[in-house]
């Protein structure tokens, strides 16, 4: 009986300690960001590794999601004679929700795992320890540039996802199904608010970028220095990032879009 209680207590204390450790790690990332900005070429290299290399999958997914949304929404709307609003519905769905969230999930899977694996292998190969021996702070040289790279890349990727999704929906709706092109754009232009919808979507994507990159870097930094450890760390990165994105999405949507 007392054994079970003491195990429970020990597990809780361990969890709290790791929570605190993660919080301090996050503060370190923030603290060393100005130093990383001074070494701008490092940040640029990371934006390339995180953002540019994710372009193909983000653009392809955006196009596919746009196609499918247009098709599905058309069949739902045409029963009520509201097929002219197809552009509006697709736009709002993409810009408010699907753009930030799907981009975040893909980002966690593609960039998050590569960050975790890279940092984990640096730790396993004792490169971090070697840097500390040379009095180079690994946080400002390795971690903070990747953090900034992730925060910069994520909103750009989310915007591109939404934009190409809308273009894909245009192709399907206007060119293939035959919805009126003028109505497609004009109803969208009249009803989508640039600050409330597009702006809130971009804010969401920045928050998701912070979550994904922080979790990826933390898992990589704290992993066991073995191949198995790195494998577990990449899995945990994707799982925790995805759950974090979905939870924050609900909270942010409730805050931003509930009717006043």
């Amino acid at each position: 009986m007392t054994d079970a209680l003491s195990n429970l207590g020990a597990a809780t204390l361990r969890w709290l300690r790791s929570l605190g450790h993660a919080a301090f790690f996050f503060l370190d990332l923030l603290r060393f960001s100005p130093a990383a900005l001074r070494r701008f070429s490092l940040v640029v290299a990371q934006v390339h590794a995180i953002g540019n290399l994710s372009l193909v999958i983000i653009l392809a997914s955006g196009l596919a999601v746009g196609f499918v949304l247009a098709l599905q929404m058309y069949y739902a709307l045409v029963t009520y004679g509201a097929a002219e609003s197809l552009g509006l519905i697709v736009n709002l769905a993409l810009v408010r929700e699907l753009g930030p969230v799907v981009t975040g999930l893909l980002f966690a899977g593609r960039a998050g795992t590569s960050l975790t694996a890279e940092i984990g292998l640096m730790k396993a190969g004792e490169q971090i320890a070697a840097m500390e021996m040379m009095a180079i702070d690994p946080r400002s040289r390795v971690l903070a540039p990747r953090f900034l790279g992730g925060i910069v890349s994520m909103p750009i990727l989310a915007v591109l996802f939404s934009a190409i999704g809308i273009l894909g929906a245009y192709v399907v709706a206007v060119l293939m199904i035959g919805v009126d092109a003028g109505n497609f754009w004009s109803i969208m232009e009249a009803r989508v608010d640039v600050w409330r919808d597009v702006g809130n979507g971009i804010f969401k994507s920045v928050v998701f970028g912070v979550i994904c990159t922080f979790v990826a870097l933390y898992q990589g930094y704290e992993t066991e220095a073995t191949p198995e450890g790195v494998a577990y760390a990449t899995t945990r990165t994707v799982v925790i990032s995805s759950l974090g994105i979905l939870a924050m999405d609900f909270v942010l949507t409730a805050l931003m879009f509930s009717t006043p």
Binding site: H48, E189, V194
Partner: protein, 160 residues
């Protein structure tokens, strides 16, 4: 990979993102609709503004001439006071009337201005005196039922 090449690719990435953002803001949202011109303010009082929201359009003959900028409640007369921003190019006579109309069957509400016949025009800061409140569906149904009941009542009265 050369450092220069990486920088060029990242630059292209950021430019592509900016282009996407501009596309979303202009073609897919209402940034282009924001009037950059000067506007003057006019007030109108309604008994019931219905679902009128801030930034709802103000239209005359169907053409958008301005936007609703503020909605408030007058604490003394318990009327809704709506402040309209009308673009400088459009002037209306002093006895114009303002109605709250609905765009389409279930659409958003907007203010429609019908010009009057006065020679003098509305000054900035003036109040539109002729107004018609929004149609509240419940009142309409209640009115309809009351009329129906009155009809039936008078019918049975005649028969008897």
């Amino acid at each position: 990979m050369g450092k220069k090449r990486i920088e060029i690719l990242v630059g292209l990435f950021v430019v592509l993102g900016a282009v996407g953002l501009v596309f979303l803001a202009l073609k897919a949202a209402n940034l282009a609709n924001f009037t950059v011109g000067d506007t003057y303010k006019v007030q109108a009082r309604f008994d019931n503004i219905g679902g009128l929201k801030v930034r709802a359009p103000v239209r005359s003959a169907g053409v958008t001439v301005g936007r609703v900028s503020k909605v408030a409640l007058d604490a003394k007369t318990y009327q809704g006071v709506v402040t309209l921003d009308i673009e400088h190019g459009f002037v209306f006579p002093k006895d114009s009337s303002a109605k709250i109309l609905t765009a389409g069957l279930l659409g958003d509400q907007y203010i429609g201005i019908e010009p009057g016949a006065d020679e003098k025009n509305l000054e900035p800061g003036a109040t539109i005196t002729q107004t018609q409140s929004a149609i509240v569906l419940e009142n309409l149904i209640g009115q309809f039922l009351f009329n129906k009941a009155a009809e039936n009542g008078s019918d049975t009265g005649v028969k008897k």
